[in-house]
Each structure stands twice: as structure tokens, then as C-alpha cells.
């Protein structure tokens, strides 16, 4: 009896251990991000790439499955990459201004420049200083737009919106939302103070900090993409600082009262770039995806993605957009807008940390 009892105990312990081992193995398999196959592409992207209308044509044409992980902010993307295994990701969509540091970190692989439609891009979007290193191309612009002032033209005087100082003036106190992204809004404040985004230094921060605090004092809220869009769409606020076509263009059908403008001092231009991961095991397919996104058809779909609209980098996409879509994107004004806009500030890591501290201070004020 004693022996039997011991045997049963031993067996049951074995069973427990085996079960645990099996559970761990199952968990490991389940936790591995998207078991890779040759016909699978894993892309780390902004949310506009998750629109099925954009992705499905590529999937069908190439008989592949595109797995998309969307993020907001390069910091988040870098964090995701750090926690991933080499080979987990194939395609990376990243802010154009952040491409140099991503290349420096060895994240992107060189692209076959001769197979990309670089010549069809708006000239300002080629950004060779960002996308090229040692004669090699590591990324290419795919979409761009402006962080500027969106507003409800039935509730505010459109003439007021042409002066950047309106964002910290108390004329519309309590009716302003601020997009919670420090780089473009700090860039806008800098423009309002007569500075250029490319030359910002630590010496400029005290003046920028004062205006940010003044802006916070008159703002109703500071929010991310969804809450900013919701706030202006529902009439909770009448002005969105940091807005632009990415907020209002997709809403023109149902909310024709929403508009946006580049103030006289100019606006901050954002751009997204696309590249292929150095560690991708599927580089050919990844390049094919980049080519599709840069094609006029892909560009038109990306420009009018359900997450947010913005200008396609490829000027030939215009042939695939309706007049109404082009009007919402201000297609015909781009020459002027491109000339009057400046890129996001590109701070050094030290200045970036100080900018973020100022921004957090502003949020906490």
C-alpha cells in the first residue's frame, strides 16, 4: 500500500511536471509573435497602414499575409523593436526626421534605389540627407502633411487663425485642444516666436516654455490623435493646435465646417518614411511592399486611409484621387505650403530629453 501510494504520488508529480512543461511549451509557441512563413510579412507601421483597403490588394496580388502592428511615436517603435527578436519585423514606417537615428542604430537595410520611384516624389520629400548614408538609400518618403491649426470656421474668425500667436492668446480660451506630441507643437511655438525648427537649441527653450505654459492656460485639453479628433469633431473645442489635413480632410464630407490653415509664420511639416529591416528574413517581399506603397495606386489608398488622410509623397498619385479628395488634401496649394513649412525639429538626445521635460512640465501645469 505504501509502495503503491508512493508510486501514485510520484506519477502524479511527474504528470504535473509534464503538464507544466507542456503548458510552458504551448505558451511559448502561442507567445511567439506570428509564426513566420515565407508568405508572411510583418510590418511596424503608423495606423494609416492598417486600412484593409490599402493592404488587401497587395495581399491578393502576392498571395501573402501582411501582419501589421501600429504604434504612435518613434519612442514606442524603438521600444517594440528592442523587445523583439531579430527577424520578427520586415517593414518599418517611421517619421522622416527619425530616419537618421534609426539608420545609425543599424535597424534599416539599404534599399535598391534604382527600383524606387524617387524621381516621382515631390522634390521636398526626397530628403536625401535623411534617407541616404554613404551613398546608400535606407528609406523613402511615403506620406506627408502639416501640424498646424485646424478650426471650426463657423465658430472662430478664420482670419485669426493666420497668426500663430492665436494658440497662446486668450481670445479663444477654453475652446482650444492641443495635439499631445511635443515635437510638432514645440515646432509651431518656435515658428510663432520667429525661430526656425532646424536651429532650435537649449537656449530657445525658456521662451518656448513660457509660450507652452501660456498655451496650456488657454487650452481645454491636450490629447492624442483620437481624443483630439473627437474634441473638434463633436464641438467640444473649436481649434486644434497641431491639427491639419490629417484631422479634417477625412471629415470634410460630414463636417464641412472644419478647416485648416498654415499661419503666416508657416507650419510644421511631418513626413513618414518607409524602409526594410536589416534583420528581415524576407527582404524581397518587403521591398515589393515598399514598391507597392510607393506606387501611384498604393499612394492614393494610403493618402485616403481610414485612420487619417494626408498627402502622398508620390506626385503621380494625383491621377488616382478624385477632385473632391484632392480638394480636401489641398492638392493645388502644396507648392505654396511646401515652401512655407519647416520640418519637425530634430533635437540631439540631450535636447530631446529637455524638450520632453518641458512638455511634461506643461502637461502637469
Amino acid at each position: 500500500m505504501s509502495t503503491l501510494s508512493n508510486t501514485r504520488t510520484t506519477l502524479s508529480r511527474r504528470q504535473i511536471l509534464v503538464s507544466l512543461a507542456a503548458a510552458c511549451a504551448l505558451f511559448t509557441v502561442a507567445a511567439t509573435p506570428d509564426a513566420k512563413a515565407t508568405d508572411t510579412l510583418n510590418a511596424l507601421v503608423w495606423c494609416d497602414h492598417t486600412d484593409p483597403a490599402l493592404i488587401e490588394p497587395f495581399e491578393k496580388a502576392n498571395n501573402v499575409k501582411v501582419n501589421l502592428k501600429d504604434y504612435e511615436g518613434t519612442g514606442t517603435a524603438l521600444s517594440i523593436i528592442e523587445q523583439s527578436q531579430p527577424g520578427d519585423w520586415d517593414v518599418f514606417v517611421v517619421d522622416g526626421v527619425d530616419v537618421p537615428r534609426v539608420v545609425k542604430a543599424g535597424i534599416l537595410a539599404p534599399l535598391p534605389a534604382d527600383q524606387l520611384p524617387t524621381g516621382d516624389l515631390f522634390p521636398e520629400l526626397i530628403m536625401a540627407e535623411n534617407h541616404m548614408k554613404d551613398g546608400k538609400t535606407y528609406a523613402i518618403s511615403e506620406k506627408f502633411g502639416y501640424n498646424t491649426i485646424s478650426y471650426n470656421k463657423t465658430k472662430v474668425d478664420p482670419a485669426d487663425m493666420k497668426d500663430m500667436s492665436i494658440i497662446w492668446s486668450d481670445k479663444y480660451k477654453g475652446r482650444i485642444a492641443v495635439y499631445d506630441y511635443y515635437l510638432p507643437v514645440i515646432g509651431m511655438v518656435a515658428l510663432g516666436l520667429g525661430k526656425t525648427t532646424a536651429s532650435l537649441s537649449e537656449d530657445d527653450l525658456p521662451a518656448i516654455r513660457d509660450k507652452l505654459f501660456a498655451m496650456k492656460g488657454v487650452a481645454k485639453q491636450v490629447g492624442e490623435v483620437v481624443s483630439s479628433q473627437t474634441a473638434i469633431a463633436t464641438g467640444e473645442v473649436d481649434i486644434l493646435v497641431g491639427g491639419g489635413e490629417w484631422v479634417t480632410a477625412g471629415l470634410t464630407g460630414e463636417k464641412p465646417e472644419l478647416d485648416w490653415v498654415l499661419p503666416d509664420q508657416g507650419g510644421v511639416r511631418w513626413s513618414q518614411s518607409i524602409g526594410v529591416f536589416e534583420t528581415s528574413a524576407n527582404k524581397d517581399l518587403a521591398v515589393k511592399f515598399v514598391q507597392y506603397i510607393l506606387s501611384p495606386e498604393g499612394q492614393a489608398r494610403l493618402a485616403t486611409s481610414s485612420c487619417y488622410w494626408a498627402m502622398p509623397a508620390n506626385a503621380k498619385a494625383g491621377g488616382h484621387l478624385s477632385d473632391q479628395q484632392k480638394a480636401a488634401l489641398r492638392w493645388d496649394d502644396q507648392k505654396d505650403y511646401l515652401a512655407r513649412s519647416q520640418l519637425y525639429p530634430v533635437p540631439s538626445p540631450e535636447l530631446d530629453q529637455k524638450m520632453q521635460d518641458v512638455w511634461t512640465e506643461m502637461l502637469q501645469k
Binding site: 504535473i16 519612442g75 521600444s79 481624443s227 530629453q353 521635460d357 511634461t360
Partner: protein
């Protein structure tokens, strides 16, 4: 079978029952927590996490007033939510447990916790629309002429507290209801026999006996509320930051996992401190 053999067998059986929970806790709490402690002592410099040991991330918390203010905001909001939720949940639980006929209690309880069934995020966005200038509250008040201008309810600390209270009243109602149902009616009868009126019976008999239920609910409310990121983010309008929002900023903006780890550990220390303070009441069994 000898007594010793029975004891060994029982001990092995007990270990077998406890082992899965131990392994689970080890894999999903102890090891990640230990890693987080180690991570909090590293540094993020540029784009790299440098594995040198220092307390700089902890020092930064005390050196930056806006970080410290985040903890103050968290405590203020959490304490307000806990107190308001108790004040609302106790009468509700009392009515369900003591005043509603037995056969309707289950239905009443389900109705009370029905909002639990909707997504937390969706519920927060729904509150944002309810509290907006064009929301139902402002439009109703404007419609009946009580106010001339919409009240600024959305994107405020008040909105955050309302969103939290809506959620935690349900939780507290459950814990207090469970406690009330365990009470024998003989306590109230004995108090009445000794000449105590209903108010006195409640204050001196019922309330002390239900304190464990209140404290369990209050502690859960405190822990869940002080660690929540979603509600302040959606309803607070970033007019001020609570500590979890600051932790998320370290991750989302800076990819600074060491700083986020240090702040998270500080948050856990606050929760541990509150647990120690309230531990004597955190007993589910009745005295």
C-alpha cells in the same frame, strides 16, 4: 498505513495543489518583478539601455517636481474616488441586501453591475461624450434653463473622478453586499432587544461588522485606481498627469524602460504602504 505515511501523503497532496499557483506566481510575478527591479537600476542613454547600476532613476523622481506632482495627483484622485465610491456603494448594497425581496436581489445585483459588461475604454469615451459641452448633461441643463453657458465638465479632474466612481461603485457594491449577506439577522435583533434603535444598531453593530467588506472593496479600489492610465488619459484631457501617465510617457516617448521601471516600483511601494496600513481590516472572515 502509519500516521507518518499519511502525513507525508497529505503533505505531497498539498504541494501538488499549491504548486501550479506557486509556479504561476513565480513566472508571472516574482521573475518579472525581479527583472523590473534590476531594470530600474539601469540607465537609458541615447538609444541604448546601459547596464550600469545607479539610483539615478529614483533620484530623478524626487528631483523633478512634475514627477512628484504626478504622485500627489494620483493620491488625491484615488482617495477622492475611494471615499465617494464607498459613500455611494454602501447605501446601494444595503438596499439590495436588506430592502429588496430575496427573489429580486439577484436581478438587482445584475442591474447594479451591468456596466461592468461594457469595455472599460468604450465606457470612458462614452463618459467623454456625456460630459461634453454638447453632451446630454449640458444640453439638458441648458434646455430647462438652469444654466446659460455649458459647464466645463469634460477634460477635467471631475470627469476623471466621475469615470472612476462609475466603475468602482459597482466593485464596492459587490464586496459590501457579500459582507451584508453574511450578517446574521440575530445581531440586529439582539441590539433591538437591548433597546437600540435602527440608527444606533446600524452605527454600533452593522457598520463595524461590515468594515471588512468595505475595506476589501476600498483597497481594491485604491489599487486599481492609482494604477489606472486609461481613465485619466481619456477623461482628464491631460490637464494634469497622474503617475501612470508619467510612466507611460517614459515608455511611449522615450523608450526609457529603466525610468518607467523605477517609477512603477515607487508606485508599488505606495500600494504596499497602503496595504500595511489597512491590513488589519483586510480579513474576509467575520469576527
Amino acid at each position: 498505513m502509519s500516521t507518518d505515511q499519511v502525513a507525508v501523503r497529505e503533505r505531497r497532496k498539498a504541494i501538488g495543489f499549491v504548486l501550479p499557483a506557486l509556479v504561476w506566481t513565480l513566472c508571472f510575478f516574482v521573475l518579472p518583478f525581479a527583472f523590473m527591479v534590476v531594470m530600474s537600476l539601469w540607465q537609458r542613454i541615447g538609444t541604448k539601455i546601459v547596464h550600469t547600476w545607479s539610483l539615478d532613476n529614483y533620484a530623478a523622481f524626487f528631483a523633478k517636481p512634475h514627477f512628484l506632482q504626478g504622485l500627489v495627483n494620483s493620491l488625491e484622485i484615488t482617495l477622492s474616488v475611494t471615499v465617494i465610491s464607498i459613500l455611494l456603494a454602501y447605501p446601494l448594497a444595503w438596499i439590495i441586501a436588506m430592502r429588496i425581496p430575496e427573489r429580486w436581489q439577484r436581478a438587482a445585483l445584475i442591474l447594479a453591475i451591468l456596466p461592468f459588461w461594457t469595455s472599460y475604454v468604450v465606457r470612458s469615451y462614452a463618459w467623454m461624450l456625456v460630459l461634453a459641452r454638447s453632451g446630454i448633461i449640458n444640453q439638458s441643463l441648458l434646455g430647462i434653463g438652469i444654466i446659460d453657458e455649458p459647464l466645463e465638465l469634460a477634460s477635467t479632474r471631475t470627469a476623471t473622478i466621475i469615470g472612476f466612481v462609475h466603475f468602482f461603485v459597482m466593485l464596492l457594491t459587490l464586496t459590501i453586499y457579500a459582507n451584508l449577506k453574511q450578517l446574521s439577522p440575530n445581531y440586529a435583533r439582539a441590539a433591538a432587544d437591548l433597546g437600540a434603535g435602527p440608527v444606533r444598531t446600524f452605527i454600533h453593530v452593522i457598520l463595524p461588522l461590515t468594515i471588512p467588506g468595505v475595506m476589501v472593496g476600498a483597497f481594491l479600489t485604491f489599487v486599481l485606481c492609482i494604477g489606472d492610465y486609461i481613465t485619466p488619459q481619456i477623461l482628464g484631457g491631460n490637464k494634469e498627469l497622474v503617475l501612470p501617465q508619467i510612466i507611460m510617457l517614459q515608455i511611449g516617448r522615450r523608450a526609457d524602460l529603466p525610468a518607467a521601471s523605477a517609477l512603477s516600483i515607487l508606485l508599488m511601494l505606495v500600494v504596499t504602504f497602503v496595504y500595511v496600513l489597512s491590513a488589519r481590516w483586510l480579513k474576509l472572515e467575520r469576527a
